[in-house]
């Protein structure tokens, strides 16, 4: 299979006007589906991109090709994937150039999401301009609510700040109504965009739910000692402690709360709280802790996925990686429903169909995942999804959180 023949074939399938089409070859269909992505592989964001995203792209590539490829029913055959990837070095301008290169020079059939909120936001207008439907997997910001109207080709996989924080505020409000709590909350966050946006979203949700935020302070990202902040929060005697934290401070807060014996009845940490290494560090003390993200390990296909993951990567997966894999499954299902690489049609299917993935059954409403896992909780040493409460596989919240010792 030479490159020219492939290009003609796929171009015919796309129906794009840029290349001449040859009907005999179009009938045969493409021999490959070229999938491209530019993502951070060097620099501080490289490791996170590798463990949450790239590892899933590679695993998906292998599993799909082992199964014969993606089914294109128009041609009555399965077509394997070929991946094309570049390193954006964590620079948004580099990412934009590389995405354009993937589209214009490599002429890939599909594009996959880069890593981290600001990079996803940089890529979204480009893929939209060239009408490549892409599910942005690792982006959470209140800007998404406007973007979904303006960028019809960009889809958003994980939970956005409002949906991430409302269930917790409402749950505390509910406990207050039932008289189980007075509804006093302490909230802390690191001074980075994620922390600030999550903090604002929670403050708004708390107001609506009628609960009292009795303490609210920020701390610098990368702080070496958070005991003073914890002490200040403790002094207000809150029943609920909420930290819109990032991985290193998620770990530090959890440890220092144990040292000073701070035992709120509800404890929430944001990113990092669902990591297997979090459980690895704290063991059974994680029980009852709520965290950003979640998963349902009973979902069909999870056992096969985790087995393949263990064999391929020699390590466990985590909730964030599962959400990325789910986006790949949805992309594949949309392509298979259309039956050819017709990107506007694939976009329409993504925007309307229901997908069955490792993240459960969901649609993309306004291009946002309709029921992404918002909050998970450690129960009996396992991470389970608890919010949204009406999502299939959601478990009831364990309340109150067991004391540290």
């Amino acid at each position: 299979m030479n490159r020219r023949k492939f290009l003609k074939g796929s171009a015919a399938a796309i129906g794009a006007a840029t290349l001449p089409t040859v009907s005999a070859q179009a009938q045969a269909g493409p021999d490959k589906i070229r999938v491209g992505y530019a993502i951070t592989q060097s620099g501080p964001l490289g490791p996170g991109a590798e463990s949450t995203v790239v590892s899933q792209y590679k695993l998906w590539n292998k599993r799909v090709n082992d199964a014969g490829g993606i089914a294109l029913k128009k041609f009555g055959k399965k077509v394997p994937i070929e991946m094309v990837s570049y390193d954006d070095q964590g620079k948004p301008d580099e990412l934009i150039k590389l995405v354009e290169r993937l589209i214009q020079q490599d002429k890939v059939d599909m594009i996959l999401s880069p890593y981290a909120t600001h990079m996803n936001l940089a890529a979204a207008p480009i893929v939209n301009k060239y009408q490549y439907p892409v599910i942005m997997t690792t982006s959470t910001t209140t800007k998404t609510y406007d973007l979904s109207k303006r960028l019809p080709y960009a889809f958003w996989q994980i939970v956005q700040p409002n949906e991430a924080t409302q269930p917790l505020a409402n749950y505390i409000g509910e406990l207050k109504k039932q008289g189980k709590l007075k509804g006093t909350v302490a909230i802390v966050h690191p001074t980075i965009e994620y922390g600030v946006e999550m903090h604002e979203a929670f403050q708004n949700a708390a107001k609506k739910a009628g609960i009292d935020v009795v303490f609210s302070k920020s701390y610098p990202f990368g702080a070496s000692d958070l005991q003073p902040v914890i002490r200040e929060a403790m002094a207000k005697n809150p029943e609920v402690f909420v930290a819109m934290s990032y991985p290193p401070d998620t770990f530090m807060l959890t440890e220092q709360m144990q040292v000073v014996g701070f035992n709120p009845q509800i404890m929430y940490v944001a990113i990092g709280g669902v990591f297997p290494t979090y459980k690895g560090k704290f063991g059974d003390k994680v029980n009852g802790i709520l965290a950003y993200g979640g998963q349902d390990k009973a979902v069909p296909g999870y056992a096969e996925y985790i087995k393949a993951h263990q064999e391929f990567h020699k390590r466990d997966s985590e909730a964030g990686a599962v959400s990325v894999y789910a986006a790949l499954e949805a992309t594949q299902q949309a392509i298979e429903t259309v039956g050819e690489i017709d990107r506007p049609k694939i976009r329409d299917v993504l925007a309307s169909a229901t997908f069955k993935t490792l993240w459960g059954e969901y649609k993309y409403v306004d291009q946002r995942c309709s029921s992404p896992w918002a909050i998970g909780q450690w129960q009996n040493g396992e991470l389970v999804g608890v919010f949204p409460a009406d999502k299939q596989g959601a478990k009831p919240v364990l309340f109150p959180k067991p004391k540290w010792s």
Partner: protein, 289 residues
């Protein structure tokens, strides 16, 4: 009462800063090599401790018997085979500094790349001595206290070696004037190599001690190189007890400022103090003028 606790915790935090910086001060102060890959040995010590407790289920302190000799040997080799050619060909100290920064910056990428390949980019942490200790009513974490004690112990040993032994006298002579030291018969290259290697071993030791209470990954090394550098410059190159004191000063100011003003400002306060010292005493707090 809380203020007292914040103060004591500031001392402990500062002890950690001093601990991280001690090894770099040996490398920079005595051997005159600004090693930008310093933090990678810190990370190496942290990972060795992590594997010792999580994989082999031994006390992480035992990992010092592995990580310190390895770091010592590697730094000795770096000095002998990478730095010595640079020192030989450099016309003056400024040219040498530029070469050294480039080479050790390269080493930083090599070590971090290897760490990422073999240890992955995952955030690691383990629980060791995270028990509260009551000190005059203030609650302290045992593992952080241990790091402070480790810092004091290392500083004391270094102080005795530098002040009370012939070897130490030679090292001090090199710190003050390497050319003159050579003229009076001190084998500058051999002694500098040993000081450089010992600095690397101390980096590994500090990585081990800090890993008991701060989570880390293959990429955290550079942050500690920078922190150590700030403390070394604050203290003045070649000052051992001064390094510890500068670290403690930084920790106390950071803790009190964070508590009394706003925790969000701690890093700003840190750098504010750093700038103030650079302006008022550019050669460091503890150097003789």
């Amino acid at each position: 009462m809380v203020l007292f606790e914040v103060f004591i915790n500031g001392i402990i935090l500062g002890g950690m800063y001093g601990l991280i910086a001690l090894g770099l001060n040996l490398q920079y102060g005595v051997a005159r090599i600004l090693n930008l890959s310093y933090g990678e040995f810190f990370v190496g010590g942290a990972f060795t401790a992590f594997f010792t407790i999580m994989l082999w289920q031994y006390n992480p302190l035992l990992s010092l018997f592995i990580s310190m000799p390895i770091a010592f040997a590697m730094n000795w080799l770096i000095y002998q085979y990478l730095m010595t050619p640079l020192i030989r060909r450099a016309p003056d100290q400024d040219a040498l500094d530029a070469d050294v920064v480039l080479v050790t910056f390269g080493l930083f990428f090599v070590f971090q790349g290897l760490a990422l390949v073999y240890w992955s980019g995952d955030l690691r942490g383990y629980t060791f001595l995270s028990t509260p200790v009551n000190f005059l009513g203030a609650t302290l974490a045992m593992n952080r206290l241990l790091a402070l004690l480790g810092a004091c112990l290392i500083a004391a040993v270094l102080f005795v070696i530098l002040r009370r032994t012939r070897f130490g006298a030679a090292l001090r002579a090199i710190t003050i004037d390497p050319v003159a030291a050579g003229l009076v018969g001190i084998d500058v290259r051999r002694y500098s190599a040993l000081a450089f290697a010992a600095g690397g071993a101390l980096a590994a030791a500090s990585g081990m001690l800090v890993s008991t209470f701060i989570s880390f990954s293959a990429t955290t090394g550079v942050a500690y190189t920078l922190k150590a550098l700030i403390v070394v410059i604050m203290a003045g190159v070649g000052r051992v007890t001064g390094t510890l004191a500068a670290g403690v000063l930084l920790g106390v100011v950071e803790a009190l400022g964070g508590y009394l003003i706003d925790p969000a400002l701690t890093i700003a306060i840190n750098f504010g103090l750093f700038m103030l010292i650079l302006l008022l005493r550019p050669t460091g707090l503890f150097t003789r003028a």
